[in-house]
C-alpha cells in the first residue's frame, strides 16, 4: 500500500494496484474482495505476519546432558574347556568349545565322538536316552494304574477265598504288595510270569492235602469237569492287560471299515483309511501320534476310539 499526497491510496493487494479514496485512516485495500483475497493469501503462505514482528527474538535452546544408554554385559570370548569325559583312545581329558557339541583330545590331536553320541548304540538300543513329554508320562502312569487295579482286584478275590491253603495266603499278600509297589509295567509282567510258579494252592473238599495250582495251559483242552462247580478258577490266570498277547485285535473291524494297518514304528498311528469318510478318494494315512497298543502295533486316540465303536 502507498499513500499519495492528494489523499488517494493504492490498494495493498499484490497484483491490484488500483487507487482509491480512503474512508478510514487505516484503510489499505480498494474493496472488500481485495481485503479478503489478501488475507487468504497471507494465512496460507505466511502464518506469522511479518508486519507485526517489531523486534527479532533470539531463542536459545537449553541443553541438558543426556547420558548415552549403556549396554555392556560380560562378553568374554569363549575358550575351549575341559569336560569330564575320558578320551576313548588314550584315556586323557577331552576338551570342547563353542556350544559343547564336539570333543577334542589334545593328546591324540583329533576330534573324538562324544561318548554321549555313541552310547545309545553301544547299549544296543535305538533311543535309550529318550526324554518323554508330560503327556507321555501321564499316559504311561494311567496305563500302569489300570493294570495294577485289575491285578489287585483278582488278588483280593483270591485272598478272600476260604479254601485258600493257609500257606499260600502270605504268598498272595506278597504278590499284592509287589503289585502296589511296582513302578513300571515291566515289573507287573514279571510278577504275572512268576505267579504260576509261586505254588499257591487251594484246598478242595475231596482233597486230604492241598493241591498245587498249575499254570494255565492254553494248548490243552481239559474238558468239562463234573465236579467243577465253576468257582474254583485257576488263580494263576492273570488279567489280560499285562499280557502282550492279549492286546485287542481289531482285524474284523479294520476289514469292515476298509482300513489298512501298516505300523511303521515312528511313533505315529499306523492306520490307512482306504476310503476316507466312505468316499472313493485317495487313501488317507493317519499321522496322529500313536497312543494305544493293539495287536500288531499302535494307533492314535481317535482311531482307537473309532475301532471300539463297531460298525453295523
Amino acid at each position: 500500500m502507498s499513500v499519495s499526497p492528494a489523499g488517494l491510496r493504492t490498494c495493498g493487494r499484490e497484483g491490484c494496484g488500483a487507487t482509491f479514496t480512503a474512508r478510514r485512516s487505516d484503510a489499505r485495500y480498494c474493496s472488500d474482495s481485495c481485503r479478503n483475497a489478501a488475507n487468504r493469501a497471507r494465512s496460507r503462505s505466511d502464518p506469522i505476519r511479518s508486519d507485526r514482528i517489531t523486534t527479532p527474538v533470539q531463542v536459545v535452546a537449553i541443553r541438558t546432558p543426556v547420558p548415552p544408554l549403556a549396554w555392556e554385559p560380560a562378553s568374554e570370548r569363549r575358550r575351549p574347556w575341559k569336560v569330564n569325559e575320558p578320551c576313548p583312545g588314550c584315556g586323557g581329558p577331552l576338551y570342547t568349545s563353542g556350544r559343547g557339541t564336539i570333543r577334542v583330545c589334545l593328546a591324540c590331536r583329533h576330534r573324538v565322538t562324544p561318548p554321549g553320541v555313541s552310547a545309545p548304540y553301544q547299549r544296543g538300543g535305538q533311543a535309550v536316552r529318550q526324554v518323554k513329554s508330560q503327556r507321555e508320562r501321564d499316559l504311561e502312569a494311567l496305563e500302569l494304574v489300570q493294570q495294577k487295579g485289575v491285578m489287585l482286584h483278582q488278588l483280593d478275590e483270591l485272598a478272600a477265598d476260604d479254601r485258600l491253603d493257609p500257606g499260600s495266603r502270605p504268598v498272595v499278600e506278597w504278590f499284592a504288595a509287589e503289585v502296589r509297589a511296582a513302578k513300571a509295567g515291566d515289573r507287573l509282567t514279571e510278577l504275572a510270569g512268576l505267579l504260576p510258579d509261586a505254588g499257591i494252592r487251594r484246598r478242595h473238599w475231596w482233597q486230604g492235602e492241598p493241591a498245587a495250582i498249575e499254570a494255565p495251559d492254553d494248548d490243552v483242552d481239559q474238558g468239562d469237569d463234573p465236579d467243577d462247580d465253576g468257582d474254583d478258577e485257576d488263580p494263576g490266570a492273570w488279567p489280560a492287560p499285562v499280557s502282550k498277547a492279549a492286546l485287542p485285535d481289531f482285524t474284523a473291524e479294520l476289514a469292515v471299515r476298509s482300513w489298512q494297518f501298516l505300523p511303521h514304528g515312528t511313533g505315529l498311528c499306523g492306520l490307512i483309511h482306504m476310503r476316507p469318510h466312505g468316499w472313493d478318494v485317495q487313501p488317507s494315512e493317519c499321522i496322529n501320534r500313536a497312543e494305544h497298543l493293539i495287536a500288531g502295533g499302535a494307533v492314535c486316540g481317535s482311531c482307537f476310539d473309532a475301532l471300539n465303536r463297531p460298525m453295523r
Binding site: 548415552p68 544408554l69 549403556a70 549396554w71 555392556e72 554385559p73 560380560a74 562378553s75 568374554e76 570370548r77 569363549r78 568349545s97 563353542g98 556350544r99 559343547g100 557339541t101 564336539i102 576330534r111 565322538t113 562324544p114 554321549g116 553320541v117 555313541s118 545309545p120 548304540y121 535305538q126 533311543a127 535309550v128 536316552r129 529318550q130 526324554v131 518323554k132 513329554s133 503327556r135 507321555e136 511303521h264 515312528t266 511313533g267 505315529l268 494315512e285 499321522i287 496322529n288 501320534r289
Partner: protein
Amino acid sequence: MGIPPVPLERVLDRVDYIWGPERAPHHLLFGMSGSGKTTLIQSLLGVCPEDRVLILDPKPAADAIWDGPAGEPHRWGKPVTAIVPMFGYEGEGGGGPQGMWYRLTGGPDRLDTARRFAAALAIVAAEGHVVLILDDVREICRQLRLAERVDSVMNLGRSASVCAVLSATETSYVSGRSQGGMVWVGHTAGLPAARAGAELLGWRGREQQDTCAALAPHQWIFSEDQPGHSGPCIVTG
C-alpha cells in the same frame, strides 16, 4: 522407551558368551515373514563354526536363502533328506566350516516330511550334542504334528548338550517357546503380533507394544536374563 541401539557384532559377542547348555541353551526368534529370521539364524551360526549343526527346513520347496555362494554351495549346511545315527562323526560329511552342518529339507509330501523329521528328532533326542535349528517351528509343530517331539528335544537342553534356535511367525502352537533363554523380536504386522512380541520379552503396556510394532525388517530387540545382563537392546545392522 530407552532401549540402547547396539551393533549386531556386539550382541553376537554376548550370545557367544552365554549360549550353551550350561547357561542359555535356546534362542526364540519371533517375526513375520520377511523380517529377517533366516538371516539372523545365519548370523547366529557364525558363532558355531566347529559345532555339529542340524537345520530343519520344513518348507515344501527349497528356500534359496539357504543356498551358499557359487563355489561354496554347502556354506549353510549340506542339504540331506535323512539323518543317520552319529551324523557328522560317521558317514557322509556335511557342510559348514568344519563339515559338521546338515540341513534336513522338507518336501511336497508332508507325510513323508513328517516321518523324516520325526526320525531326525528321535536321533537328536538319543544322541544330543547338536545345535538344532528349527526354521519355522510352527510349521514343524502344527502342520507336521511334531510338537511333542520338539518338546522332548527342548527338554534335553543341558543334560544332552542340545542347543536350539526356534524361529516362528506366531507364538501359538510353538513348543518350547517358554524355554527361550534368549529372545529376539523383530518386524511384525498388526497390534496382536506386536503384543505377542512384547509378551515374549516380558513386557506389558502400550508403550512397549508400540516399540515392538515400530521395528523395521531386519531390526531386532534382543533380550536375555543371564547373570550380568544389561537388559534388552535394539540390534542394529
